[in-house]
Symmetry: C2
Subunit: 350 residues, 2 copies
Amino acid sequence: MRCAAAQRVSRGCALTVTIREVADAAGVSTATVSRALSGVQTVDPELVARVRESAESLGYRANRVARALRRQSTQTVGLVIPDITNPFFPAVVQAIERELRHDGLSLLLCDAGNDVDVEAELVRNLFDHQIDGLLISACDRIASRPAVQLAASRVPVLQIDQQTVAEVPYVGVDQADAMGQIIGHLRDQGCQSFAYIGPRPEIPTARERFDAFADRVKPVDPAAANRTYLGDSSIAWGHEAANRILADGPPPDAIVCANDQAALGALQALREHGVKVPGDVALTGFDDTVLATACEPQLTSVSQPLEELGARAVRELSAAIGQELRQPRSVLLEASLVIRGSSRRLPPTG
Amino acid sequence: MRCAAAQRVSRGCALTVTIREVADAAGVSTATVSRALSGVQTVDPELVARVRESAESLGYRANRVARALRRQSTQTVGLVIPDITNPFFPAVVQAIERELRHDGLSLLLCDAGNDVDVEAELVRNLFDHQIDGLLISACDRIASRPAVQLAASRVPVLQIDQQTVAEVPYVGVDQADAMGQIIGHLRDQGCQSFAYIGPRPEIPTARERFDAFADRVKPVDPAAANRTYLGDSSIAWGHEAANRILADGPPPDAIVCANDQAALGALQALREHGVKVPGDVALTGFDDTVLATACEPQLTSVSQPLEELGARAVRELSAAIGQELRQPRSVLLEASLVIRGSSRRLPPTG
DNA sequence: CTGAAAGCGCTAACAG
DNA sequence: CTGTTAGCGCTTTCAG
């Protein structure tokens, strides 16, 4: 009489094949099947061949739930991000998922919708799933800390892009350096007075960008401190803020934006007022999203290495999960300035 | 002597608390704890209170891996998409994740990178995880079929946006109707000759859009069949195709694009050639992405109900997983035309 | 090198 | 209504 699995296959039922059935088919114990397939212990080559063949012909695939329960390791990592519709994330998420897969890990994705309470619940939920590691890009510079700290006490955690807890490793991009590149470029173009449009600094990168702007600009243009417009990350805010800049007095030589959305909104507002970009006002974005090349003139922006960010994050986390490291290491990547029409007032020197 | 969990807590270890420990603390059996917390069977109210209190104070959270193994249900669904960096997906994914969470389900996200072989492997992988259901937006109209069919033989499957297998339910948007709205609008604006720029119809929606264009335009402009430019979904292809249109003869009254990327590329090419939009040529996009409002003139486009798409998909799949339905039902949603400057040649009538 | 047996944490069947 | 017991599918001792 044939075994249960073969009967099911012959009946056309594509249901689950268990290790028991492979063992019966190969005439060995389940322990031997497990060892032969995982290669964790030396097994008679002939048995290995028989087991492989049986497994193959039955279409056996190990049940990861059962394995996880026994091994106390799910080979699964959680990813918590504030908002996948933020154009920054898709490329990062894609790289993360791909790299995890290469390491045999799977991804539980959670979108916190920029809500700290949801975020905390998501982290708890992920622990119910017994994740082996966590990647998190926090919603809030302060309010997200408890969730990150709790998580880090349980499994390897890597903060992505946003560092809210200094003690927990993170992989990010050097925001201050990037902002420095922007200001340096604008000064090279002859700009001497500056304004800033960006979101309120509720998350670390927003704050880093803003602080770096203030630092770099203060020596040249102390009055810039009075021309900082903090709202949200929308095109609408860029539009609104640019209107206020024009209403508040003579426009500065340059408007520095903390993201491309703000720059695009500002560009539209400036155009409506007949202010020429870059002739009257130089304009810069940040993040080098698809928006930067959609408008006319195209936006000078800062390109962050999104794929590398995701890939490095996984490499570090993965090493920590695989016990090669006690804890993931922090990594700081460099962004690169992409100069386009919105800020180009002088022909390139050289 | 105190139980193991209490000892760990007092030592500051935030490790896992098992149901055994809750049972000991409450002085009942593990079965009673399970019943009291899940509410699946009536339990003495006083015991329920004691159990709740113990669970609460120990910080007990059920291990979903163990539960899944026992219940033969992980409360987890897989989502396979071709490319998360395609601007269509983030909003859909966000809605899916949110709705799943409301139903107590978790999301395993997989990005196939537009590769059919990867896609097939991802589906197998998801089954190793014992997913309770699958949402899939297939990479290829033909080559993705085996993977979708295999999946559908195992768990409830819902095709998202792309229907590759007619027998498997799907949630999508009526592409033909949307294209009909575009053509109707352009004709209202007085356009009589048309060109089409889009991707090669490797996926169902691309084909539906193209076929609908051909159908609707043929009666008015038979020559349009010679002005169809099929490439990929990039801005670069839109640019290239528009250049070819201008090179191939006098421009048509309207260029219909299968996505906003193509329309944007075309807009840039037309501008470079001094062709006025919408004066000389009316132009339309598709999908109403962020690109549509980034350029000047802004693009007339078709807005698809992305959140609703995700939400409906989850509703149907969730019902099937919860046994309320044998199989998810198909849903066809309507898109809506968003008229902007790129196609507006006449003042609105009325 | 192989098999028997235990058990991961939970839930459901079965008695009481 | 509650406890005892078995067992989900797998891996890993422990004997042999």
